[in-house]
């Protein structure tokens, strides 16, 4: 069971309090009714799913309830950092 740092509670807390919520930094187009099928496909269906560092959303669902973002290494399963929803993608230093 992982420990995940909730950026709102500012504490490392057990994984069972959290729920994974897919890739991060995907923005719902404000003109969603006008986008083409290809653009909709890219927004809704296509995901990176790389081996290595991913930016993903989590929710502290059995805690403070907030959605937040995390950078995680899918090879080591280590969280590099977590940050609040709406904040920009962090630059990952050597620690990454």
């Amino acid at each position: 069971m992982l420990l995940i740092r909730c950026p709102y509670c500012e504490k490392d807390l057990p994984e069972v309090e959290f729920r994974h919520a897919g890739e991060a930094h995907l923005v719902r187009p404000s003109n969603i009714t006008e986008i083409s099928d290809e653009e909709f496909e890219a927004y809704f269906f296509l995901r990176q799913n790389p081996k290595g560092i991913v930016f993903e959303r989590w929710r502290h669902v059995h805690g403070c309830g907030r959605f937040f973002n995390a950078a995680r290494d899918t090879v080591s399963d280590k969280f590099l950092t977590t940050y609040k929803a709406g904040e920009p993608k962090p630059a990952l230093g050597e620690s990454a």
Partner: protein, 183 residues
């Protein structure tokens, strides 16, 4: 007929566990409010409620019969055993907030005694060691397979809140966990 008053029938009526090292008992019925307030309106809501909302997540403020638990960055659970109309107190507040009565949604359970921490640690993965989880600390978390809200009310006492239909599970879990005499 319209003047008949229906009887309140609480979910854990009559249940109680007493052991030399820990007791598990239902809390008295209480008024409860879920408050959602953006940071800029906390002062206005605090004033109307007559209780200062603590603004650090995982902390609480208790005075008299009332406890205010900061569960999330803009979320509070107010519990008042006095049966007061909490929502009514906020009726006049113009500043944007949400006050929702959940008096009957939750059930409170008091876990008390030398073995209280150990009993809850049977199903709660957070570190409840006193220096890490001092009196007044509160959080939404997990007990076994149920979500709970946990408030440390004393060095050897916790209040466990869960949703009504989970209360049988949560109480039974605590009852079972309390059998272990190891502190």
């Amino acid at each position: 007929m319209a003047d008949q008053i229906a009887l309140r029938r609480t979910a854990l009526d009559g249940r109680s566990v007493k052991r030399p090292w820990v007791s598990v008992t239902p809390a008295a019925p209480a008024s409860r409010l879920v408050l959602r307030v953006p940071a800029e309106n906390v002062a206005a809501v605090s004033a109307a409620l007559g209780t200062e909302l603590p603004t650090k997540v995982r902390t609480s403020a208790t005075s008299g019969t009332r406890s205010v638990l900061c569960i999330g960055p803009d979320e509070w659970l107010v519990i008042d055993a006095d049966g007061v109309d909490l929502a009514g107190a906020l009726k006049g507040v113009e500043a944007f907030h949400s006050a929702v009565d959940v008096s009957h949604r939750n059930v409170g359970i008091i876990v008390s005694g030398e073995g209280a921490e150990a009993t809850i640690s049977a199903g709660c993965p957070q570190d409840l060691y006193l220096p890490e989880f001092p009196v007044g600390t509160c959080c939404r978390t997990i007990l076994g397979k149920s979500e709970i809200v946990l408030l440390r009310t004393g060095e050897r006492e916790f209040r466990v809140e869960c949703w009504r239909s989970f209360s049988d599970y949560v109480f039974t879990f605590l009852e079972e966990a309390s059998r272990d005499p190891l502190i």
